[in-house]
Amino acid sequence: MRTYLEFALKKFQNKMVYRLDFFMGMINTLITIAVYLCIYKALYGNASVIDGVTYKMVATNFVIALGLSQAFTFNEMFMQDKIKDGSITNEFLKPVSFKLRMLSENIGEGLFKVVFHFFPALILTCLYTDICMPKSFANLVFMLLSMMLGYLVLWLISFIVQTWSFWLFSVWGIVTIKNVFINILSGSLLPLWFMPRPLKTMISCTPFESIYFTPVRIYLGQLSGMDIFKAMMIQCGWILVLYLTGNIFWKQGVKKLVVQGG
């Protein structure tokens, strides 16, 4: 465990080396928030409620989803790069689990973005717009828990796609398409409340809803009691399914791995 914590910390430190990156990232986040909030504001016009959803809820959804998506962004070319330049050998030469190592580094990277890009931007945002507070303290706690599960769902989807680089020369295209799907279907751009009903039903059968939307709904108090529990069980279910799928690809891939160079 200590080893993996160290991976995360080292990645975090690694990121701090690039100072410019830090400022640009923060400004970028700030602009993104400002632009989207303006768009939502314009959409709402004078109406205070659309489809039973207030502007404040939309703004909250957006800000949280953005925060999560920052925590949830990581280098998705990680595996491909390692396979391509052959440095995956370095990973295999260490008595550590490659998957856990990748996960911990990704978490370190996400944490960096949340702390240095998102939090400063969030504080500034709160100065000119008000967003919803969590329904209750318990909701906040459950939201954090559900958020971690959401992270795993997202990470595992990415992991599966990344394992395809054992067979494909480039997974960039697939990763991009995957991310478009995730952005649309997970409700991080347009909240799922506004999706047409059939689409909404369809999405609820996919893992996408589990990523951002479940934590946001818990935060806002749209889910409560048993529903929270049920939503989290669904998240866990997806984690299991995705993990097993990813593992199959991983095992097959490692077998056929051809280490380049040397």
Binding site: T3, K10, S87, N90, L93, V259, G262
Partner: protein
């Protein structure tokens, strides 16, 4: 004595997509590919005892790196078996790699953005190295390899030779029982090379570490190891001591001549075919000799001879 490393009938083939030039062929290539099988390692067997240092050489593309990759557990052999210290490397990878250290001279394992010392720290966690051992090794290695100056510099700023030393230390901090070096001296200056050679010898003597290393520098071979394995086109063509291979060449002499008119000449003779007496007679009869020197064949030359397959003497025995 029991064998530390047992390699028997190992094969590794690569499937290489064959590509023809031209636009038409490139498009055709998208749909239908022709594959070619490349026998990178083709039925290689050998055993190595604990504490041995073995130089593993062969021309470019002979299959050295591929073999090292199989020994270190990152490639599955297509056929045959590898057993090292009781482990099957590619099957029991996580357990196995605790016991080994690997340095790929052409690839760094260090964290590009962090100072060298932090990469070493990370090794301490990865291998769960006890603090006292870590400090002892770190201290000793950095002193032997003369690294105090750049320990705190980010790896991306290091020169090739500095980085290589960093890589070697990183791979050995956990005092592995077996070490594989794939071209540890590539691109280094004479002083750095010498340091690394001494270091490798020192590791071997101090801890009885079993070491395999590949190189293209025959000086490395002469100075570090006693035993030599030569492979070519995936096949083992020599396995024995360096002295042995030299002995087989003792009858080959290089004779350097400086003639009266200032011309220099270099001739090679085989004294087992023609006695020295006769050679000298011929030389003196035909030339006006100002100066003459007789040299043994250099190891470089011997190896070149073997690679070129013209093995004047070895051919009969191999």
């Amino acid at each position: 004595m029991e064998h530390m490393i047992e390699v028997s009938h190992v094969k590794r083939y690569y499937k290489v997509a064959k590509r023809e030039q031209g636009m038409g062929n490139s498009i055709r290539h998208l749909f239908k590919r022709k594959y070619e099988i490349k026998r990178a390692v083709d039925d290689v067997s050998f055993t190595i005892k604990k504490g041995e240092i073995v130089g593993f050489i062969g021309p470019n593309g002979a299959g050295k790196s591929t073999t090292v990759k199989m020994l270190s557990g990152i490639l599955y052999p297509d056929d045959g078996s590898v057993k090292i210290d009781g482990f099957i490397p590619y099957k029991q990878r996580k357990q196995y790699v605790k016991n080994i250290g690997v340095v790929f001279g052409q690839k760094s394992q260090l964290n590009w953005d962090l100072p060298l010392i932090e990469s070493f720290e990370l090794m301490r966690y990865i291998y769960k190295i006890p603090m006292d051992l870590y400090e002892e090794n770190l201290h000793q290695f950095t002193e032997l390899l003369d690294m105090e100056d750049f320990l705190y510099q980010p790896v991306r700023q290091l020169s090739l030779g500095q980085r290589m030393r960093g890589d070697i230390v990183a791979a050995l901090l956990h005092s592995p029982k077996i070490v594989f070096f794939d071209e540890p001296t590539i691109g280094l200056d004479v002083v750095a090379k010498e340091k690394i050679r001494n270091f490798i010898r020192y590791m071997n003597q101090k801890n009885d570490t079993t070491i395999i290393f590949t190189t293209h520098d025959m000086q490395d071979i002469e100075k570090i190891c006693e035993r030599l394995i030569i492979i070519d086109s995936g096949k083992k063509i020599y396995d024995g001591s360096i002295q042995d291979i030299k002995n087989r060449y003792t009858s080959i002499k290089n004779i350097k001549l400086i003639l009266e008119d200032g011309r220099k000449e270099m001739r090679t003779y085989d004294t087992s075919k023609k006695p020295m007496n006769q050679i000298m007679e011929e030389i003196f009869r035909e030339n006006q000799v100002k100066d003459i020197s007789i040299c043994e064949t250099e190891i470089d030359e011997i190896i070149r001879d073997i690679y070129e397959g013209s093995s004047r003497i070895l051919s009969s025995e191999l």
